[in-house]
Symmetry: D3
Subunit: 219 residues, 6 copies
């Protein structure tokens, strides 16, 4: 039986899991690991605060511990990597965070990496994660689209704001590579990239791509 990568949406909103699932499509290969997307039923509908983020740790760790035997690697699919370290305690299998993975992938594509964020309130959390990695020198900063995307996913407006923010990161913060600071919007990645002319990484895809390597190579 093939290996399975478990991509966990720690927000309980199914529509987000569906967006994540679509993002996985290009990475599903015959002969490659299965990629299964699940929703953390006990998570908040949407993570909009530090407290929301921390609340995920316990149920996420339980889900990871329960699934460990039949899973080869986990991806925590929420920007800001909520519960990531608690999940790592709960298993010896690899657990990848999308912030960490997205940022590392972007380091290949440019020198100064900017983040297209959703909510201003979460920027400090993301900055702490990135600085804690010791690669703050390459962090151009994050700017937020400031749309309440969970509740109002009007496609055109969201894409438009993401492109605006991407341009500010390029112009004002001198980013030359970008990471999307959100999940479930992989369908916009290429359009943003074309609009601003610098590489854009979708972080769940980055994490899954890295997870495939780790599963196949055993590290």
């Amino acid at each position: 039986m093939p290996d399975t990568i478990y991509v966990i949406n720690p927000q309980s909103t199914l529509a987000t899991t569906q967006g994540i699932d679509r993002a996985c499509e290009p990475l599903r290969m015959a002969g490659g690991p299965l990629i299964e997307c699940v929703t953390l039923a006990d998570g908040p509908p949407s993570i909009q605060s530090e407290r929301d983020a921390d609340s995920v740790a316990a149920p996420l760790a339980r889900l990871v511990a329960d699934a460990e035997r039949r899973v080869a690697a986990f991806v925590v699919a929420c920007f800001g990597d909520p519960g990531l370290h608690a999940a790592r305690e709960a298993t010896r299998k690899p657990v990848l965070g999308v912030t960490e993975s997205g940022f590392l992938a972007a380091l290949m594509l440019g020198h100064r990496v900017g983040v297209i964020g959703m909510l201003p309130a979460l920027i400090p959390r993301h900055s702490r994660s990135i600085r804690a990695m010791g690669i703050g020198e390459r962090y151009a900063g994050e700017r937020a689209v400031s749309l309440n995307i969970a509740h109002a996913p009007e496609e055109a407006r969201t894409l438009h704001r993401m492109i605006e923010v991407a341009r500010e990161l390029r112009e004002q913060d001198r980013a030359d590579a970008l990471v999307m600071g959100c999940v479930g919007f992989a369908q916009y990645r290429e359009r943003i990239e074309r609009a601003v002319g610098i590489p854009v990484v979708e972080p769940t895809q980055a994490a899954i791509a890295l997870a495939i390597g780790r599963v196949r190579l055993g590290w």
Copy 2:
């Protein structure tokens, strides 16, 4: 009525709160802020993992929000600053973490700051906090006494191990100032300092001292 500084022990063990309370004694001044120590009843008996640390966020934020009106500043008295950022979301009053405060205080006393830790499992968490502050250049590292102090507080043995670890930080990691990476052991501070000959900061005391300044000065 004087200002009150609320020192919250996010671990539910009363003995720890009592140790914290004794640490406050030298900072209680007739005309200064009241310093009140409370126990987070809904916290785990002892924080020994990432998951324990994250579990504190929700009840801590509730306690902070409830107390806000009658309190001038909060101190989260647990090394690793669990729930600190969630607590800050819950109030406009200052919320100080002991890791942050202890480390900043030690920056005055030496160039390379080492941490006398308790449990190896929490070292990565502490390191992330310190690096996220952008002062990793001055972090000599943490070494743990590796005693399960919550359950076996044999004084002589604990002090002995703390001094051993402090010596290793000085000799092998070239630390020239130390922070105790735990709370409730303020009574050992001076003895460790004398034994190793470099300054040692007790982090709850450092946080309360900073909190007094902030309360009196209004920032």
Copy 3:
């Protein structure tokens, strides 16, 4: 008899010492250390150059050595910390500099710290102090009001320029916390803070607050 903190104005202008003295007021607490402000009679009327700053070392060290027995801690109350290291050689008691203290205090309040300076000629000196602390990564830079404040303390104009400079630090240098790069103007702190909407630290107050902690805690 209570402990005494000696706040030394290394400039011989009494009006500056009086401004410093007013800044101490909120930190004088019944039961807390006495805070005594003194003027260095042999200092220059105002420190406006590197040479002025270095000239302070010898008389300051003498004053510190003479006062050591009856004093628990010293604060050198002049931005740029002139003579600080010579003073430290002259005593085993803590000697705090306002640059170091103000900057450390601001590290709690924001990620990029800017300095509201007085004279352009002293900016390189201040920058060297801050970079020498190994926290240059968090230094947003200094901008000077460029008023000869020692000789023309017209209140409205000074405050107006400080606010202008504070705005430039926030807008152009992306500072999110500020330190006043001068002493004796504590009365403007709150008004600047309100005008620019980010925290502002008055460095003598920051140093005294830290000194109170060190005196009470014995480090």
Copy 4:
């Protein structure tokens, strides 16, 4: 027709290409990209000096330009990434270097990354590459096995020396993750990892894993 990843051995020794080819095996998936290993006929038999490394640029760029139309991504499979930047000029397709890729992969697995090198003469070149990435803070250094592996591939002795060097990196340089600073020795990876107890990355495998992601995701 499936996408092809072209893994170029810039050294003209076929045995090395065969070693590289074996390293690809776990990353060949039925529905995934083809992974084709080729030898740069005009390269030196073995790259043992800066000059050897620079000599590769012109023929490598020609090979890349010639193959561009039928290839989705290139991997330059020689530690030190010789000719990497010249190759990137010659095509709009992704060109991955094994040094860059191996180091980025190791950043996920530990905080301080050490390199198990082959020849002391090439250490400065590798260090420049890693520092130029702006992640020098996480570089624990490189130590060389100092065997002339190209000419004397005695398996037992090579593995033994690699493990010795890996131990020194862990003990003396405090590395907690390692990259093999060579190609064609993937078969030793797991044994080294087991012997020293910290993660070990084989850099060609790391590069190909990243290349698969980039090919599938279009960045």
Copy 5:
């Protein structure tokens, strides 16, 4: 017989060597080392790409090895230091690169050093060199005049563009010292410096000045 410093133009264009030779004039002193400028006949007419730069290594190393016996020190006179490390392998005599030397000289003259470049395509190469030196913190960046100077040396236009770029580096990148990122234009140095009001270093001159010291002092 006096010592000789060999200044090698790795580009085969004689006019460039003549410009380099004029730059040496102020450093020729009776009793000092002879300064001899030579052209690398096998170099490309002009180095405009990574591949051009790497192509220089082999012929340059040969020239260095051949000249070693009668030469006291070498300068590789092309910004980006092509072939520098290969040349160092070929001799025990000092080999100085102009990028390294120009940047070090500028570190004396300002805190943030900017580079007046020629071609955008070479900026990444130069940035890698500077970051690899571990002094990236002081690098304000490079901006290119984007003139094809090798083929169209119209003096007035070139100088005009250099001054424009110098102003942008000062204004937008906050450089307070500049290095010319090219050779053979020493005659513009002073005019650029006067126009922008911050120090400007000509890198071949900087390298030769350093080489004189090394030759006389034996290191």
Copy 6:
């Protein structure tokens, strides 16, 4: 009339000036700048403390201002660069410090630069200077011979201790280039270099060599 470089010994001990004068010998060239060594009569016999160092500023600035008209560049010849910034205020001519110059020269010769110091009490001062330059990443640290050299210049013992300290810097602090943290001992440079096998820079010589370049080139 040729240009003159004024090398000022800020310590009033003539024997030190004589040692400095001998160090200049290799840099005196028939057609080059005159190199004149002078003693600061008002300086302390030997600089052994922060206070000694600061005391030099006023008389040094006077000497520099007085000599400005007939001098092309100044060198302050005392490790720790006492009074350097005050001297720079007193003239528009270049003023070079030996700490800054020695360290920059050593950056060409190795990656991690260590300092062979004299007195432990001055190490913090030197460290601040080097960190303030923003190149602390390349500073391996200083170790002191701890001989009171001013009063007991027994040659054999001094050289012996310098070599011991140089070995410790290489072995324990992993320095691969060294600066002598003192002046007047140029005669030992080569012997230390030979004994430890890594490059050693004598800082007064480094400063004068840089000064010659600046005088000849006009920056």
